[in-house]
């Protein structure tokens, strides 16, 4: 393996890792606070990308208003999805199963809604920055360089929000002990909606990242959701660092595997990896107790 190839793999791992970190963090926030797995998460990403496209390219108002609109729209849809798809079932014994079913149905709903609103023709978002950047001899697009650079800032912002603000503390309190949080007078329903809105907003940002790299389609969220699922299982949700570190590791594994054994085998490797993690360490690599 030449030095060039190593740099190419490293750069590719960083780009993938950034994308997966932003995607997986939202999934982890919802899982740790509500104890459910949200299969509609990929569609928040799709929705974000399409709203951004509509404002930026469709209406021609530029990318930044598009980003703001996309995050706002995704957050609103996220909160509504929580109210309609998850919260009515939270007390039920089979809530884990029901939530899978209702969020899958929600995903179908949003995907076909996007198809009706924007059609099936592939679209592409304008990049966050134009041109190419040279990094240790590997050329990557400026858009990808921006992704790699601002992802740590986004992660830091979420970490500060969860760890340093009263609202973030309330969210963690509901996640750790639902009854105690209720007794302290925390508005659990609104905090759950907040968790969903936060997750959906992050997914929308991931959608904007991806929408300028690949073509957008109503089904574009499916693959990133599966990758984020592998990441969340691998890292566990008990700590903030779990899914973040796991995202970059999975990005690295994917980049190495794509280089060494090809694009077709790589998804199989990742799913084998996920099954292996679940068999040996279901709480995840960095998980303490399981929830």
């Amino acid at each position: 393996m030449s030095g060039d190839a190593l740099v190419t793999i490293a750069v590719s791992a960083l780009v993938l890792g950034s994308l997966y970190a932003v995607m997986a963090l939202g999934l982890a926030v919802v899982w740790s606070s509500l104890g459910i797995f949200n299969f509609a998460h990929g569609l928040f990403m799709t929705l974000g990308a399409y709203v951004a496209w509509q404002v930026a390219a469709g209406a021609g108002w530029g990318l930044w208003p598009g980003i703001v609109a996309a995050v706002a729209a995704a957050m609103a849809v996220g909160a509504v999805a929580c109210e309609l798809l998850v919260r009515p079932f939270l007390g039920r014994k089979d809530v884990v199963l029901v939530a899978v079913i209702t969020t899958l149905a929600g995903a179908t709903l949003i995907e076909n809604g996007v198809l009706l609103a924007w059609g099936g023709r592939p679209k592409q978002l304008p990049p966050l920055a134009t041109g190419t950047v040279n990094l240790f001899g590997a050329a990557l697009s400026a858009h990808e360089a921006v992704i790699v650079a601002i992802t740590p800032l986004i992660l830091l912002a979420v970490w500060l929000f969860l760890g340093r603000t009263r609202l973030g503390a309330a969210l963690r309190a509901v996640a750790q002990n639902h009854e105690a949080a209720l007794l302290m007078g925390l508005p659990a329903a609104r905090l759950y909606a907040l968790a969903f809105a936060l997750a959906a907003g992050l997914a929308a940002i991931a959608g904007i990242f991806l929408g300028a790299i690949r073509f957008m389609s109503p089904a574009m969220g499916g693959d990133p959701l599966l990758k984020a699922m592998v990441v969340v299982i691998f890292g566990g949700v008990a700590r903030f660092a779990g899914p973040v570190v796991a995202a970059y590791l999975i990005g690295l594994i994917e980049a190495v595997s794509t280089y060494a054994i090809g694009l077709y085998w790589t998804p199989s490797v990742l799913f084998l990896f996920m099954i292996g993690t679940l068999m040996l360490r279901p709480q995840g690599l960095f998980g303490g107790a399981r929830r």
Binding site: G35, I36, F37, L84, L85, P88, F89, R92, V96, L97, V98, V100, I101, T102, L104, A105, G106, A107, T108, L109, E111, N112, G113, L115, L116, L226, M229, V230, I233, Y264, W265, P267, S268, F271, L272, M274, I275, L278, M279, P282
Partner: protein, 310 residues
């Protein structure tokens, strides 16, 4: 089974047997054939999900393994279609035993995730082995069933209609016998109170393997039958739209009832076929039905009807 149940069951069977002669419309038979197949798949899923309480999301993969097993064995290995039909069931059962291994140690959401990952793994393997499976394009022109001197697709698919009906009857009889047996009682006990059941000497590991394996056999056979009938094997067999349809059949029919999913399969396959022209709206309608049913009738329509009649 009560006497009234026997009478209703036989009457329904008589109606379904007479139907293709009363209404000799091939398209109607086509929808019924699909409905019978989906009924087999959904009611077998009810065994693991409803009775066993195992959140198995690899069930659709068992069906696809039957589909592709049939395609590969008949087209590439030159097996006779009938042998490949049985092999579809055996392959799906073996896959179920494989899935059972990680499932044994896990519970709740982790079972959903590991079985979901297994289904994705099978899909990825199928798509990546394009030399064997045709990749994303799938396989076409699979051989159909023949009995000497007669092709089941003749006379407006009459043979396929009765074949599918027979498959449904045998599978349903098997499922009823299974849930009524000591084994069936044991898996329900494990679902309702795992610790107590284990303390009474029920082996969690053995019951879970047996439940998954039993739920997979006729699912795999149904997959092979589906492939022989439509003469194609495509990655759509893994798709979310089939998963959604089966889930809505299961939910509408109600978990842990066997007959519920069978009735729901007939109703929903008709609604689904009738609404093909609606495009995306059809999927939206199915999704809304799922959410509303889960919200309003948690036990499914079957239990709602039973409560009404009693």
């Amino acid at each position: 089974m009560t006497r009234r149940g026997v009478v209703i069951g036989l009457a329904a069977l008589g109606l379904l047997a007479a139907l293709p002669f009363v209404f000799p419309v091939p398209y109607l038979r086509h929808i019924f054939i699909l409905a019978f197949i989906y009924a087999v798949v959904a009611s077998n899923w009810d065994l693991s999900l409803g009775y066993g309480g195992i959140f198995n999301f690899a069930h659709v993969a068992f069906f696809s393994i039957g589909v592709y097993g049939y395609g590969i064995l008949t087209k590439l290995a030159g097996w006779s279609p009938w042998a490949a039909l049985a092999a579809g069931g055996v392959l799906a059962t073996l896959a179920a035993v494989l899935v059972a291994i990680p499932v044994l140690r896990l519970s709740g959401i982790y079972i959903i995730l590991v079985t979901f990952a297994f289904a994705q793994l099978v899909l990825q393997l199928v798509v990546s082995q394009s030399g064997l499976t045709g990749g994303m394009m799938g396989m076409v022109g699979l051989p159909t069933f023949q009995i000497p001197g007669y092709n089941l697709a003749r006379d407006g698919k009459l043979g396929y209609y009765f074949g599918a009906l027979a498959l449904l009857v045998v599978s349903t009889a098997f499922l009823r016998a299974f849930v009524g047996s000591r084994l069936g009682l044991a898996i329900r006990a494990l679902r309702d109170d795992p610790d107590y059941a284990a303390a009474r000497g029920i082996s969690v590991a053995r019951q879970r393997i047996l439940t998954l394996a039993a739920s997979a056999f006729f699912t795999g056979v149904a997959g092979a039958y589906y492939a022989a009938y439509l003469r194609i094997a495509s990655p759509d067999a893994f798709g979310v739209s089939l998963l959604s349809l089966l889930l809505s059949i299961l939910l509408l029919g109600g978990l842990a009832s066997i007959y519920g999913p069978v009735v729901a399969a007939l109703v929903l396959t008709f609604l689904s076929e009738a609404s093909v022209d609606l495009g995306p709206w059809r999927h939206i309608a199915i999704a809304v039905v799922i959410i509303v049913v889960v919200r309003i009738w948690p036990g499914g329509l079957w239990s709602a009807l039973r409560r009404l009649s009693s």
